[in-house]
């Protein structure tokens, strides 16, 4: 790989051990993909609490404040977990506090969300933004046209430290054209809610090998933001799709021709009623109908989603624990609107944390003997990770079914009647 003199100095350790190690990781990764060089980034996005502490310490050792902006994925909230009465919360405080202290010294921004575009922090078309969080990657690539390659949480830290990322994958314009096409086969989407789009995305992700760009054709133009986002973020859960063009909705896909360019299609994936039914079924992993926890906000809730939950929940009390994952600014807006109050009076709580992989109520290493044994969610991504990482039973259904489950403690969700 061709390095500039400055990059060679960074790699040779002339600045500090953190920059040297980060550079080493970026160069090794770039070389394994035959990247020609490194390119400067517009800004970076990392996940400090998801980094193992020894790795975090090594990669940030001696690193001064960066000239570029760096934001972060949801962090842990052990102080709030403690208030929720989760017995093992204390175990998490020390490491979290140490990493947060270093994070602040670096001058990085505590966005603590997997949906920071809702805070007004989003890339312009063509901006190069290395990011941790596959849902951030696919959303920023697909919905805003940023250049975000697929990468892991650890590599995203290296890119943020160095302000550089290897020129490879989806940073290269010709690699952004769709190689896989999804066609809806006799599916009427007119009454779909967000959950049906989650389910469709989960099926598509499973059908596309590797992280090949996908074009989804046949959906209504200018799909509402919540629906478009649900569709694209579910794909890197069951698979690795990092760029999905929704024809008529996303910026690089005004038409199918624009999304496809001159690239030859490798496969056409047809999705009909049978595929949707099988996927919906697959996302439901449970035997009896008792629901102990309900999780919303994977990815972090939009204000519109919170508004819909409030309409369903107003004046009711929940029997389960109810978590809404949302960024602090979106929560503040919900509070100003009077909605946070309604949710909290019903017994729900807001957390600026991950309600899936790091959902404190479903994780035995946080909740201890209070771990919920079953959880309901309207997100395919959440269902996937609560079942596998939490190791508990999962109900997947619509917003309305999940709110009803929180109120009654019983699952009455049904397979949608596909039309």
């Amino acid at each position: 790989m061709l390095l500039t003199d400055e990059e060679k100095r960074m790699l040779d350790g002339e600045y500090c051990p953190g920059i040297q190690r980060s550079m080493d990781l970026l160069v090794k990764l770039g070389e394994s993909f035959d990247a020609e060089k490194l390119v400067p980034i517009s800004y970076g996005h990392i996940g400090y609490d998801f980094c193992p502490e020894p790795f975090w310490d090594k990669m940030t050792e001696g690193v001064p404040q960066t000239p570029h902006r760096v934001t972060t994925h949801p962090s842990y909230s052990p102080e709030i977990w403690k208030k929720c009465g989760l017995p093992l919360a204390d175990n998490w405080i020390g490491e979290h506090e140490r990493k947060l202290k270093r994070f602040k010294e670096l001058g990085w921004l505590r966005t603590e969300t997997c949906a920071e575009y809702l805070l007004g922090i989003f890339p312009r078309k063509g901006d190069i933004v290395p990011m941790g969080g596959s849902c951030m990657q696919v959303a920023n690539n697909s919905l805003f046209g940023a250049k975000v390659d697929r990468m892991g949480i650890l590599v995203s830290l290296a890119a943020a430290v160095c302000g550089r990322t290897p020129l490879m994958g989806l940073l290269i314009p010709e690699n952004r054209y769709a190689s896989h096409l999804v066609e809806l086969d006799d599916l009427d989407v007119s009454d779909w809610t967000m959950s049906e789009y989650h389910c469709l995305g989960y099926y598509i992700g499973d059908q596309v090998p590797g992280f090949k760009p996908v074009a989804v054709n046949g959906l209504p133009p200018n799909l509402p933001f919540d629906f478009a986002r649900a569709l694209v973020i579910s794909m890197p859960t069951s698979g690795a799709v990092t760029l999905a063009h929704i024809v008529g909705t996303t910026p690089e896909a005004s038409t199918l021709e624009a999304a496809q360019g001159k690239r030859k299609l490798e496969n056409v994936i047809k999705v009909g009623k049978r595929e949707m039914s099988e996927t919906w079924e697959r996302l439901n992993v449970w035997d009896d109908d008792t629901v102990e926890h309900v999780a919303f906000g994977c990815p972090h809730s939009t204000i519109d989603e919170i508004g819909r939950i409030v309409t369903l929940l107003e004046g009711k009390k929940v029997k389960t624990t109810l978590l809404i994952g949302a960024s602090t600014p979106v929560e503040a807006l919900a509070r100003r609107q009077g909605w946070a109050d309604i949710i909290e009076k019903a017994g729900g709580i807001f957390l600026p944390a991950c309600p899936s992989i790091a959902n404190p109520f479903t994780r035995a290493d946080i909740a201890g003997e209070k771990q919920a044994k079953s959880a309901a969610t309207n997100s395919a991504r959440s269902a996937h990770y609560i079942a596998s990482v939490g190791g508990i039973k999962v109900f997947f259904g619509t917003e309305e079914e999940c709110v009803n489950a929180a109120i009654s403690g019983k699952w009455k969700g049904e397979m949608p009647k596909w039309k």
Binding site: L25, G152, S238, V285, V389
Partner: protein, 134 residues
Amino acid sequence: MEIRAHMVSAGKAEGKAVVYNGPFAFLGDLSPVTGKICMPRHRLEGQSLVNKVFVFTTGKGSSGCDFAAWAAKKNGRAPAAIICLESEPVLSGAVIATGIPAVDRPEKNVLELIKTGDYVRVDANAGIIEIKGK
């Protein structure tokens, strides 16, 4: 039998093979505590990957696969080496950052030539997979 392949992550390792004709995610598919496949309804659910040479198609899933790989390695519950048909950046970053030897783009179809239980040696630096049989 020797098969040439492309280095993803440096190092040499050997062990019994586990072959899976599908994509793999360190986060969600593998328990970092037991080293076994933990995804409900996965075809290999319950299969241990500890010190195995894991052969599969490509990576998938969350960008958190690298910290999950790190946790498995720290607990001594990681695969010894990885062979896949074509890696992707999350998988590559995970094995490079955690020091698990790995190769991809093998010149022959490893999913057919290697059987689960075969003893396999991977020299990633030299780009060589050696199948030693049962």
